[in-house]
């Protein structure tokens, strides 16, 4: 018998604004006030059943939290999605001024190397239950990759719409799975709007449109894992990249559920949002003390965060401010510096969104908003192999060296001056990096 046959808590869709209930159906907005719908759980139905012990007895993936996920009864997951490493980041911490820094590393999430694998697995479970045989999404890349991969695994047809200027690796990483990829001549907001029109006419399951409430719940697993991997305690701060604004809210929701069910002690966790300055509608709202979002036309290399009209932006801005957190944004130069900092200090190669989050974390520490002794978790959500174009021209292969020791020795003397200077050279490189970091953490 599958561990999932006993399945999950009772849940249904409710309007965030007016509270109207909608049962369970492929629907994302309230028909009265048009506010987003959210999955609401009857936590009392799992109280005493969802415990630290029951979680520990589950598989080493997101399905260990199945009681708090909206998955249809009888659903048989076979992909080990999630449960990515939470790594202590001492070297990055030393560089940017934190003694208690962790990286939640979703750049190695299975199967497509981003946190989107979590949300897609939940969305497609529901797509199947609703009877859709075509699924799709509007995407800035990572979601496209994950929908394509997981749809192929489930035998579903996939139709995926992306902005035409997407990174080549993200296009290839969608096409390889046999998905239909439609490049739209416009930015993500144009793509997303088109998808809402398509979902209105076609009986397709768009994971981030008509399946959005279910899809978004998958992000909670980041929060459950952080708490569990910290030894069932909550951090002081979470720094999270923001595109549509959903992930940061769902991590908070996960923490709140764990507190309500008694798995962790209550704590006032501060949430910090990270955006690229070239697309910063949510951080701009937070900095101005508002929760209304003024849309922007994105212009940044952090394309996975380039959503100028974020669907969950108002709610994210409100939540961040309610926790005493803040939101910041960084330039594209700082984004690249952030990617390099994380790689050079922790051996984690993240995409541009991770560069945003790393650089914003440095900035928040420099501003004194995050303190050195506090436990701070930085959410890294995607893999650098998908955005290598952002680093183009920054690294050059030196000349080829003949396979002789004397040639190798000569080569080192050529590039470093002398062998004995190797260690000095390394220190010099570190000093340069610190300069770069000062840029990332300093005032603009």
């Amino acid at each position: 018998m599958s561990v999932l046959e006993s399945s999950c808590t009772v849940y249904e869709l409710r309007c965030n604004e007016c509270g109207k209930s909608f049962g369970n159906r492929p629907l994302s907005a309230c028909d009265d006030c048009f506010a987003p719908l959210e999955v609401h759980y009857d936590l009392s139905s799992v109280r005493g059943r969802f415990t630290r012990e029951s979680v520990a007895a589950g598989p080493a993936n997101i399905w260990r939290y199945k009681e708090l996920l909206p998955i249809p009864s009888g659903f048989q997951p076979d992909l080990p999605v999630g449960f990515t490493p939470l790594v202590r980041a001492n070297r990055l911490g030393q560089r940017i001024g934190s003694k208690n820094l962790y990286v939640k590393n979703d750049s190695v999430c299975f199967p497509t190397l981003s946190f989107k694998d979590r949300v897609v697995s939940i969305a497609l479970a529901n797509a199947q239950a609703f009877g859709f045989d075509v699924v799709g999404c509007s995407s800035t890349g990572n979601l496209a990759n994950s929908v394509a991969a997981q749809a192929s695994r489930l035998g579903l047809k996939a139709c995926i719409l992306v902005p035409a200027d997407l990174e080549p690796a993200k296009i290839l990483n969608t096409q390889i799975y046999g998905a239909r990829l439609v490049r739209i001549d416009g930015n993500y907001d144009h793509v997303n709007r088109l998808c809402t029109l398509i979902a209105d006419e076609y009986n397709w399951g768009f994971v981030n449109v008509n399946l959005r409430p279910y899809y978004a719940e998958g992000s909670k697993t980041v929060g459950y894992e952080i708490a569990e991997q910290l030894g069932w305690r909550l951090p002081d701060n979470v720094v999270c990249p923001m595109a549509g604004g959903s992930l940061i809210r769902k991590i908070k929701k996960a923490f709140d559920e764990l507190v309500a069910l008694g798995l962790v002690e209550a704590k006032d966790v501060k949430f910090f949002g990270a955006q690229a300055t070239g697309c910063s509608p949510i951080s701009t709202a937070v900095k101005n003390g508002r929760d209304e979002i003024e849309p922007q036309r994105p212009l940044t290399i952090a394309r996975s965060l380039a959503i100028g009209n974020p669907a969950d932006g108002p709610l994210a801005a409100k939540m961040i401010q309610s926790t005493g957190g803040y939101a910041e944004d960084v330039s594209d130069v700082e984004v690249v510096a952030g990617i390099q900092e994380l790689a050079e200090t922790e051996g984690i190669f993240t995409e541009t969104a991770g560069g945003v989050t790393t650089a914003v974390t440095a900035k928040l520490i420099a501003q004194g908003r995050i303190h050195a002794d506090e436990t701070t978790v930085v959410c890294i959500t995607g893999n650098g192999l998908k955005t290598t174009d952002a680093l183009e021209g920054r690294f050059h292969a030196d000349r080829a060296v003949k396979p002789k020791l004397a040639e190798f020795d000569a080569y080192l003397r050529e590039v470093d001056g002398s062998l004995v200077n190797l260690s000095a050279s390394a220190e010099s490189a570190a000093a340069k990096s610190e300069e770069a970091l000062a840029l990332a953490g300093g005032a603009r």
């Binding site: 209930s21 809402t196 029109l197």
Partner: protein, 111 residues
Amino acid sequence: MSVKITLPTALARHTDGQKTFASEARNLPGLLAEFDAKFPALAQNVKDDNGNLRKFINVYVNDEDIRFLGGDTHQFEDGDEVMLIPSIAGGRCGQRRFLTVPYDESLLEGC
């Protein structure tokens, strides 16, 4: 002068199923006033308690978000296409039913 208005399915329930129709409105406030006169149920659905367009509804003029064009002050031109879309849209009431608990058929009433 005439502009073409396009509504999503969720709003067409107030217009006898019409998803597109012509309007003489010259700007967004004028369009809302026209809704008051011609489609009072639609007007009630899309406006908040203060009479403003609900914050979760976006308006596009020829594919451009009206907020980039000046919002309420933007003047429509003859032949413009004006589209109202909920900011988080998608899904139709009464689509295929879910296979698990809880599902309440009565919730579909009125959709």
